[in-house]
C-alpha cells in the first residue's frame, strides 16, 4: 500500500504512533533560524540553523552545525537544576547520543545523522522534559 500514489512514507507515518511521552513535559519551539549568512565562505562546519525550546523556566538554545552528512548540536541549557543530561532520541525511541550539561549550561551532541530528532532533558528530582521533533 505504501507504493500507492500519494501514500509514500505510510510505514514511517504509522510508526510515528507512540503514546509513551503523553505524560512528559513538552518544551515548545520558540526560535528557528536558518543559516548564518556571514559564515558561509569561511567556516568548515557552518551553523545551518539555530533553535530554542522553552518550558516554564527552562530554555534550551541550540546551534546546528553541518560537516558533510554529519551534524552536531551545541548550545546551552538555562534553568534551576543541578546535574542534568541531554539525550538525542530518534523515532522509535532509539537514543543516538547523550551529553552531560556543564556547569555553564553548555553541551554538545556530536556525529549525529540527518533526519527527525527529539531531545530529552533529564534533571535530578524532576520529570523528564522533551522537546518537539525537529529535522537535522
Amino acid at each position: 500500500m505504501s507504493g500507492r500514489e500519494g501514500m509514500e512514507g505510510r510505514e514511517a507515518a504509522l510508526a510515528a504512533f507512540d503514546r509513551s511521552a503523553d505524560d512528559m513535559d513538552l518544551a515548545a519551539l520558540v526560535v528557528d533560524r536558518g543559516p548564518r549568512l556571514e559564515e558561509v565562505r569561511s567556516v568548515d562546519d557552518p551553523v545551518v540553523g539555530e533553535l530554542a525550546f522553552e518550558f516554564e523556566d527552562v530554555r534550551i538554545d541550540l546551534s546546528l552545525h553541518a560537516r558533510g552528512p554529519s551534524r552536531t548540536l551545541s548550545g546551552t541549557v538555562r534553568g534551576e537544576f543541578g546535574y542534568a543530561l541531554l539525550e538525542a532520541h530518534r523515532p522509535g525511541g532509539r537514543r543516538e547520543d547523550v551529553a552531560s550539561i556543564e556547569e555553564t549550561g553548555e553541551f554538545a551532541l556530536q556525529d549525529l545523522h540527518r533526519g527527525p530528532i527529539r531531545l530529552t532533558l533529564r534533571r535530578d528530582a524532576e520529570a523528564p522534559l522533551i522537546t518537539e521533533w525537529f529535522t537535522l
Binding site: E5, G6, M7, E8, G9, R10, A12, A13, L14, A16, F17, D18, R19, A21, D22, L26, D32, G34, P35, L37, V40, R41, V48, G49, L64, P91, R114, G115, P116, R118, E132, W133, F134, T135
Partner: protein, 167 residues
C-alpha cells in the same frame, strides 16, 4: 482523533490514510530533495503524534496538518539553502511574482476535484464542453451566446451538486 489519543492504532491508521496524500502533496510542492521530503513528512507525523492529546478540534485537523507541513517544509528549505557568491545580474530576470507553492497545490487539488466531477457528467457533449473551461488555451466553438450561457449555467449547477456530494 480521541480514539488515537487513547491508544487506538486503528484510529491512527485511519488518520494517516485520510491525510497522508495531502501532506505528501504539500511537501512535493516545495521542491525538496527526496530524502529531505521524507524526513519532513515523517517529522509532521511525529509532531501530530506528540500533539494528539492536546488537539481538541477534530474538524481542524486537516488545516492543522497543512499548516505544520508547510511550516516544516519552509524551515527545511531555508536550512538546506546553500549560499554561493553570485553576480546579482543573474537574478535580474527572475520572476518575483511566482505562485506560492501551497496555492499551487490547492489549485491542483481543486482542478482534480473538478475533473472528477466533469467525468461524472452523463452527456459526452457536456463533458467536452466542461473540459474546455479547464483548458484555458482551448477556444470555445462558435455558438449562440444565449444558448451557450444557459448551457453553461446548467452545467455549472450539475458540477456544483457533484462537488457538494463529494465533500
Amino acid at each position: 482523533m480521541r480514539q488515537a489519543a487513547c491508544g487506538s492504532r486503528g484510529a491512527w491508521r485511519d488518520i494517516v490514510d485520510r491525510h497522508l496524500p495531502m501532506v505528501n502533496g504539500i511537501a512535493r510542492s516545495f521542491g525538496l530533495s527526496a530524502p529531505d521530503r521524507e524526513d519532513v513528512v515523517q517529522t509532521v507525523w511525529l509532531t501530530l503524534n506528540l500533539h494528539l492529546p492536546r488537539l481538541r478540534e477534530p474538524h481542524h485537523l486537516r488545516a492543522w496538518l497543512s499548516r505544520v507541513t508547510r511550516d516544516k517544509c519552509l524551515r527545511q528549505r531555508r536550512r538546506d539553502a546553500r549560499q554561493y557568491p553570485t553576480d546579482p545580474e543573474k537574478f535580474a530576470h527572475v520572476d518575483g511574482d511566482a505562485p506560492d507553492p501551497e496555492a499551487e497545490y490547492l489549485r491542483k487539488e481543486r482542478d482534480e476535484a473538478l475533473r472528477r466531477a466533469v467525468d461524472r457528467l452523463r452527456d459526452p457533449a457536456e463533458r467536452r464542453a466542461a473540459l474546455r473551461f479547464l483548458e484555458p488555451d482551448a477556444a470555445p466553438p462558435p455558438q449562440d451566446r444565449r444558448v451557450a450561457f444557459n448551457e453553461r449555467r446548467r452545467m455549472v449547477r450539475r458540477l456544483r451538486n457533484t462537488l457538494e456530494d463529494e465533500i
